[in-house]
């Protein structure tokens, strides 16, 4: 029972870092998007932890909202990706270079 806020914060921060790393590294749009979800989850973790240790509910409620929003975003995002795939036959980010300079 000695786990404190710092430990959760480390867990969350590292998760955030891994997620960001994934966004930077991966070329597949879908995987990149998954990594984004990882980052959001890291935030959720931090919020829940803070909520617990601060003794207020707001963090938890916020997480509730974030999950809602994330779900909505994923839906829209995947719709865009699917539509784009229908047109371009690819989901690889480097292929998406019509817009530049």
């Amino acid at each position: 029972m000695n786990i404190g806020i710092v430990d959760f914060l480390v867990a969350s921060a590292l998760l955030f870092a891994i997620g960001f790393f994934g966004v930077l590294l991966r070329r597949n749009t879908l995987v990149v998007y998954m990594c984004l979800e990882l980052m959001l989850n890291a935030v959720n973790l931090a919020l829940v932890a803070f909520s617990r240790f601060n003794g207020t509910m707001d963090g938890n409620i916020f997480v509730f909202f974030i999950i809602t929003v994330a779900a909505a975003e994923v839906a829209v995002g995947l719709a865009i990706i699917v539509t784009l795939f229908r047109r371009r036959e690819t989901v690889q980010l480097p292929d998406l270079n019509l817009l530049r300079h």
């Binding site: 960001f20 966004v23 930077l24 070329r27 990149v32 980010l93 480097p94 998406l96 270079n97 019509l98 817009l99 530049r100 300079h101």
Partner: protein, 622 residues
């Protein structure tokens, strides 16, 4: 009409005349001439009334004020002014009349007369002005009228060039003049001649050599002293009456007048410089005159030489060791002004005579293409002869008296100068003989000179009148008490001195005449000097390379310098710096554009690094 009003109207009438002609009578040549001559007559009559009515005035109107600095339109009419006014009014009137004949056929007659009126206006301004700024204004205005009149035959490139040269060289002189005026203003707190004189009188130490020399620059330019004389011979491109009026009798003499008017501002040290410049100009002018073949150019160089005489005379005033300085300067002024008056008459006469000849010979100006004219144009010949004799200083004629006064002054003060002036006198006699013999004697060498015939009375009458003046102007009765302010100062040699000076004078005169007669002979067809002493002739006809130096300066220095600056302006400032800076920013811009690679990952890096950057700033601040 009060005297003040009269003086102002003498100034305004010619101006109105010029204006009216310019606006209304550009194509009505006869009316234009009439208007201009009417103005000249008004000036003549008014002037005579002023001069002989013994009216002397000083008054001024405020023109412009800034703080303590005021410019006024001031008039100051004294004996000195009266003397010059006399010359200007009389010669001016006569030349107006002469022009009527000379310019009869000219298509630009109206323009010509407008120019004459403008000139009369400007000259009146110089005569009357009571402060240096007003003098300067009219100084530039005579320059302008001179420019316009020289440029009368504007379609001739030479005339156009000459006018330009005259104006610019005069501006060079005025550059010094203006500096002198500005300096004087801060030095004396005023530019009013009257007040400055009082200041100098109260405290003679306040004089400054620099101011004196800068003010002398005015005369340097207008009176064609070395090294700014180059414009005067070229100015002969203008109509001959103009040469007579402006470039012989009045405007060029105005430099002398100005010196005399501001003599109290010029300290003795400056006088010495002035004297030597004058002497150098005198001998230089006469040397150059020897090789010229253009009748007007000979006269022009002669004018330069005579102006040098006057300037030297003015400068000589400084050298009287014994006796107080004031008187000495007065003597110089007296001598210079005296010569100015006599020279004004006989040089105007000579030019008009030359004009008469040129007119008769259908604008032939080369003396070796004339000849035998004495028979065909007796009146002109007679008058011209009087002029020549007056110029060379034949005893009994006007030139003799005035030249003697100067020679005497030189004799008294500086023997070296005396020698130079005497030599000048000899050369004068020499080249005038050459001109006289070549133009009027021998056989006519061209068809034009063969067909020449005497001009009508409109042109000969002024000649005769001027000839009379050239004879009598040296005598005392011509100078009643009203001119005493000047004429009393003219040095008169007495006794042994008189004998000596007069003797030398006559001797050099005779020597010159005889040498000329013998050397050139009667009715020469070509220049003997050129044939026998080509080296000497070449040297003299190069006119001491002054023109070449100027030419070289303009082409090789000024033009190249401005081209260089233009290049720098375009390439360095406009090109390298301004366009370069724009180009540099453009490069950055291309770089910034290239940063938008279209690759999403790169964009995520941007965001990531953005946060890092912000955090670094936070850390940096803490």
């Amino acid at each position: 009409m009060s005297n003040e009003q009269l003086i102002v109207s003498l100034l305004v009438v010619p101006f109105l005349s010029a204006l009216v002609i310019g606006i209304f009578f550009r194509r009505r040549h006869e009316i234009a001439a009439a208007v201009s001559i009417a103005a000249a007559s008004v000036v003549l009559l008014g002037s005579l009334y002023l001069i002989f009515g013994n009216i002397r005035e000083e008054f001024s109107y405020e023109w412009m004020t800034f703080g303590d600095y005021t410019v006024s339109m001031g008039f100051y009419f004294n004996d000195l002014a009266a003397l010059l006014l006399f010359v200007v009014a009389v010669v001016g009137f006569l030349i107006h009349i002469f022009s009527l004949g000379y310019m009869k056929e000219d298509p630009g007659k109206a323009r010509y007369f407008a120019g004459l009126s403008l000139f009369m206006f400007s000259m009146m301004g110089i005569v009357f002005a009571n402060n240096l700024i007003m003098i300067f204004i009219f100084w530039e205005l005579v320059g302008l009228s001179s420019f316009l009149l020289i440029n009368h035959y504007y379609h001739k490139p030479a005339a156009s060039e000459a006018a330009k040269k005259a104006f610019i060289v005069n501006r060079l002189g005025d550059f010094g003049f203006l500096l002198g005026i500005i300096w004087s203003y801060w030095h004396f707190e005023t530019l009013n001649l009257f007040e400055m004189a009082a200041l100098v009188e109260a405290n003679p130490d306040i004089l400054h050599v620099g101011i004196g020399l800068l003010l002398f620059c005015s005369a340097l330019g207008k009176s064609g002293q070395i090294p700014l004389h180059v414009w005067l011979p070229d100015a002969m491109e203008g109509p001959t009456p103009v040469s007579a009026l402006i470039h012989a009798a009045t405007m060029v003499a105005a430099g002398i007048y100005l010196l005399c008017r501001i003599y109290f501002l010029i300290p003795p040290e400056a006088m010495v410089w002035i004297m030597w410049v004058g002497a150098a100009t005198a001998i230089f002018g006469s040397l150059c005159a020897i090789t010229q073949t253009d009748i007007k150019k000979i006269l022009a160089y002669s004018t330069i030489s005579q102006l040098g005489y006057m300037v030297a005379a003015f400068g000589l005033g400084s050298l009287v060791i014994d006796g107080d300085a004031g008187t000495a300067i007065q003597a110089g002024i007296g001598a210079a002004m005296f010569h100015l008056v006599t020279h004004g008459f006989f040089k105007a006469l000579l030019f008009l005579g030359a004009g008469s000849v040129i007119h008769a010979c259908h604008h032939e100006q080369d003396i070796y293409r004339m000849g035998g004219l004495w028979r065909k144009m007796p009146v002109t010949f007679a008058a011209f002869t009087v002029g020549v004799l007056a110029l060379v200083g034949m005893p009994g004629l006007a030139g003799f008296f005035s030249k003697d006064a100067i020679l005497y002054l030189a004799w008294e003060n500086n023997s070296a100068l005396f020698l130079i002036l005497a030599a000048t006198a000899l050369l004068t006699a020499f080249y005038m003989t050459r001109l006289w013999l070549a133009a009027f004697f021998g056989e006519p060498k061209t068809r034009a000179s063969r067909d020449a015939k005497e001009n009508n009375w409109i042109m000969t009458a002024p000649l005769v009148i001027l000839a009379i003046f050239s004879v009598v102007a040296g005598y005392d009765f011509m100078h009643p008490a009203i001119f005493d302010g000047i004429m009393q100062e003219v040095p008169h040699a007495e006794g042994a001195d008189f004998a000596l000076v007069a003797g030398v004078s006559v001797a050099v005169l005779l020597a010159g005449l005889i040498a000329g007669w013998l050397f050139y002979g009667v009715g020469a067809r070509e220049d003997r000097l050129e044939k026998q002493f080509p080296g000497l002739h070449g040297f003299l006809s190069a006119r001491f390379f002054f023109d070449d130096v100027y030419e070289w300066y303009v082409v090789n220095v000024q033009q190249r310098f401005s081209s260089l600056l233009n290049f720098i302006d375009h390439i360095l400032i406009s090109g390298l710096i301004v366009r370069g800076a724009a180009g540099l920013v453009g490069l950055f811009s291309l770089g910034a554009r290239a940063a938008h690679t279209g690759n999403l990952h790169v964009y995520v890096y941007w965001i990531f690094l953005g946060v890092v950057l912000m955090w670094l700033v936070v850390k940096g601040v803490q």
